[in-house]
Subunit: 246 residues, 2 copies
DNA sequence: AAACGATGTTGATCTGCGTCAAAGCGCAGG
DNA sequence: CCTGCGCTTTGACGCAGATCAACATCGTTT
């Protein structure tokens, strides 16, 4: 699932967005057009970006921070259906409203493009349209990967799978020859539970168990050190690399 | 989630494919090009169309029958991640291999397009590229809808949700003023279990319970009559119409 | 018609995770 | 400094659904 090198060739001007960016592959003049329709938005942790059904007049890439996409049933049961980390894209060209509740779970900076001109650009610029299809296919793969987690994995495997995602996406790597990584959990226990189809108590218990067994080390509540990533991946009961998730 | 009327304007020549078809919106000369790269394949129930990782040299629409996309863990746990019914599209332009096991679960007819020329056509024909993005977005919505089912619904709600999908997609409707529908189950109990993240015993028990309560009536093992669709939908614990699933 | 395999049903028992409850921890505000 | 609040941890208990097992049904083969 790593992108071919030519996709990281171009950066989104001053955005620190490198891979998965819509503007990868764009020519200089196309980048200029993107620049013109670009603006930034910031949200505080806990703030709602959009409710399901709201008009969204922009599409965006996450610059820093994390946001979640969630669905809620009438009786309050919630399921997270997407997790947006740095460089992820959100918004549906050709669809007016948000399909899910979008909530910032940490302080969040997004690089936004007004939807109208962005859609016009898509029509004329095959690069952008292609890239968007690719990104959507990646998201679809990630969603389907997650269906396996939700439908068939045990609580412990679910937690390990989620930690593996953070380890791959946000991790500070240790010395190259080790498999040690360190990262900050962007989610509360409750949000993790919503992602994994568990209760927050079960999430807490499983994390405690992993800690007790030395598979992870906690520094405070949110900072996680994984002494050996291979050992964690074993717990996820998985052949994939955990890198699929969007 | 019903498509706007202009999308059902054009048919795929002699294919009985109407909505969701790639060729909806195409001009006559574009349809001619599609005709040239088109061919049919048939599979028997149980036959494998492609294993995950296999090269697939075509993309296709289902003409009749049903197929499933499944993922399998090393220890044999399986999760279905997609269900292909008449008019659904399968195959990823721009990706060489199948991402999942594709298996015909009933006798299956597919209208295939050779991948190479199809991809070339995508580049030059915005209709097709647009339509493909739309279809992929629909699939993504369906996958996310299903994440809620897998993560948060009870066994009974899961079964009702699945029956509701068949009722919406494949049903023979009763007299217009009633909410009675009738359809054939394309899946075995085991396949339903794989879709729902349950065991086949639980599926069987829940179907028996729905039968006992008169919410469904079985004629043989596979033919289902739903006397009142609203009553079934209530059991699904859901606000959506069950029509999202691809 | 007997034998067989694939599919489905039903019962008895077990267990992983949910539910309910209480208490610990860290931090912002008075 | 204390207080209150949001988040987390831990314990006790119960239940939905998994597991194990037996049997029923039906279509196919011989």
């Amino acid at each position: 699932m790593t992108l071919p090198p030519d996709l990281v060739r171009q950066d989104c001007s001053d955005c620190p967005i490198r891979h998965r960016a819509v503007c990868a592959r764009c020519e200089p003049d196309e980048l200029t057009r993107l620049e013109e329709m670009k603006f930034y938005r910031t949200y505080e942790a806990g703030q709602t970006v959009a409710w399901a059904g709201d008009q969204m007049d922009f599409v965006a890439s996450v610059v820093s921070g994390a946001a979640t996409l969630t669905q809620t049933m009438e009786d309050g049961r919630r399921q997270m259906v997407g997790l947006l980390l740095a460089s992820d894209f959100v918004g549906r060209p050709g669809r007016s409203g948000a399909s899910y509740d979008v909530v910032a779970v940490t302080d969040l900076v997004m690089c936004c493009f007004r939807k109208k001109p962005f859609e016009q650009m898509m029509v004329t610029t095959p690069h952008v349209a292609e890239r968007l299809l690719e990104m959507t296919l990646d998201e679809l793969d990630a969603a389907r990967e997650w269906m396996l987690v939700l439908g068939r994995k045990t609580a412990r495997e679910k937690i390990a799978s989620l930690l593996a995602i953070f380890a791959h996406r946000d991790a500070v790597l240790g010395p190259k020859h080790t498999r040690t990584v360190q990262f900050e959990l962007p989610l509360t226990r409750e949000a993790m539970a919503d992602y994994l189809g568990l209760t927050l108590e079960t999430v807490s218990r499983q994390i405690s168990a992993l800690k007790r067994e030395g598979i992870i080390v906690l520094q405070g509540k949110r900072s996680v050190v994984v002494p050996d990533l291979d050992v964690l991946m074993e717990q996820a009961g998985d052949d994939s690399d955990g890198g699929l998730l969007i």
